[in-house]
Symmetry: C2
Amino acid sequence: MAVNLSAPTAEALLAVKGIRLATASAGIKKPGRQDVVLIELAEGTQTAAVYTKNAFCAAPVIVAKQHQSSEASRYLLINSGNANAGTGDVGLLAAKSCCQAVADVANVNEASVLPFSTGVIGQPLPVDKISAVLPEAYSRLSEDNWLAAAQGIMTTDTIAKAKSVQLKLDGKTITITGISKGSGMIRPDMATMLAYIATDANIEPAVLKTMLNNAMGQSFNRITVDGDTSTNDACVLMATCQAGNAEIKQISTAEGETLQEAITDVCRYLAQAIVRDGEGATKFITINVEQGQSQEECRQVAYTIAHSPLVKTASFASDPNWGRILAAVGRSGLIDFDLSGVSIFIGDVCIVESGQPENSYTEEKGQAVMAEPEITITVKLNRGDAYDQVWTCDFSYDYVKINAEYRT
Amino acid sequence: MAVNLSAPTAEALLAVKGIRLATASAGIKKPGRQDVVLIELAEGTQTAAVYTKNAFCAAPVIVAKQHQSSEASRYLLINSGNANAGTGDVGLLAAKSCCQAVADVANVNEASVLPFSTGVIGQPLPVDKISAVLPEAYSRLSEDNWLAAAQGIMTTDTIAKAKSVQLKLDGKTITITGISKGSGMIRPDMATMLAYIATDANIEPAVLKTMLNNAMGQSFNRITVDGDTSTNDACVLMATCQAGNAEIKQISTAEGETLQEAITDVCRYLAQAIVRDGEGATKFITINVEQGQSQEECRQVAYTIAHSPLVKTASFASDPNWGRILAAVGRSGLIDFDLSGVSIFIGDVCIVESGQPENSYTEEKGQAVMAEPEITITVKLNRGDAYDQVWTCDFSYDYVKINAEYRT
């Protein structure tokens, strides 16, 4: 069902010097599924991460934050099939036990392991099952397992999400490879479901953190499937610093800007992939809001449209029911909002011009753009120069089916 | 499909002295349907009204506000099948032309007629068709047409919504009868889709206005189906002052309080009826948020749960997937939110106690309460004494079906 998204091939995913990966099957939710992913970071790897702002954040998020702030990270342990969220103190103990199990196998400190979980909320994490497969996973660590890792972190995703790019810095080849998962409970708040991006570029830690934040603002923090922020969102950017380029100490240099752009591109691809594979999605919808007083108010209008079940069901039906877009703009809460300057477009078809129905609009024109799998909605507020953009998908029968039957 | 809601009988709806009603068929969207409702208010009737806060409010809302502020209202003209919204200056002219047509037939001023429309957004209102049936409607005005009026204002509603109550004031019998419509695009903001409540009680105009506002806060302003605020919401409370009771000049009297309570009861019934008949609804969900610092933050948490597509689809599936409730509470944006005091209940089953999973909880217990057609979710925030409550419904296949096929 995913919209204009095809599965990556193993060949298209490039190894990143200093990163090794492996998967194993612990039978967490379904027998036989590769549901445990172990990622090894070479010594000297710099790590930046952002986590969900949901107040009920999951146990692994709490532990990962603690561990990341206390020691250089050497291993990421990710399981799918169980979110270890809403599990209280027992869940915290479970997350730490899993980290200790990796530490025992790899002979490192527990705090150098970051745990991540995704799946059903509110069920105890089967620590024994996960610990049991760690020696096998450890023995199979390889630079070439990016595709398997992308598949291993999937839950309701129908397609693995991964991308590699290469660029030159100081004449050295730099590789960036990232993976992500997510399909429902998607409205990231300073983070996404789960995403891991690695590069071998040599970057100062503070610059790495800034680069991640910059990339987030143009990728994972601009998507929504259903408006529900997950308890387990996390995004990790790793730099193994093994490419041989001179250390990047500022973004505002030619090298810094080039690398930032490449990292943002990978994040944007991975974020859009989550929406393209949104639960039940049949349409990929880009919402542009222009001419606002601030980026914040543009985002507010964009998300109001993106979260409207009526806009989303009309998109599913390829119905140019633009009254629903107009109603969403109208209820988006802008202060002193003068409608007489507002214009609204679906694709390049103008439906409202200066607050009035556009005269040359016809249902046929609207129908033609709504029938496409990629729909762009543009709102011009006529009250400033600010701009923002978000991406979402439609609401189909399958969204209800997937979420009504998720635990059965 | 409506949840525990049956159609009112004509006998159960009591005439209100001074109010006459009639319906007619103008063929606005479908031939043969009674889609025009005319309500006559006797001279001396006091009228209070609230309207949508959607910035893109419909033409009839703009005209009704103007007319109501300039002259005592004598006629309400309501059509279903076309919202006359997003229609620009042409729509304003159409709404005024309809008022003039009523004025011509009834020999009153145009400004004493209030227009209301509900239905598809963005299509021209067929003024000629509506004007043509007004003489017939006028000739059939009767005190006994409340049920026909309730049916005439329906759009995607499956059941007419109406209620009468009687009470005694000063030994005089007072009657209150109200009707409402609405099923989708429901998240009233200081008003509802369309509701008309009439009483023959004698009330001072300022008191009437306050009584309406008080009732709204406990009825129409506490419901949501899909979070989409309509462009056409309006609620009108009329007092014909013909019951013979002494004029009510303050709410804080025995008579004032009794009448307020009765009006609020009728509004609450009509508001809940809209949710019970929400598009595709199979469950009626009450959300209580207690122990908050303010009523506003309680409402914020309640609406976050009520709008979560994941909570709504789980409710449809009778799935006690309480992790989704917890995730919604967690993302509701409370400042300095300490989870360690939070408790969550479905029905009387505790799922989270002081921030930890409740030990005696079992899936069977959760399943039993979720299987009921009426579900109550209670969240105790443990940070104050404030409280609020909202009502919503589930998200089913039929919600998608109704909204994907609305215009076909």
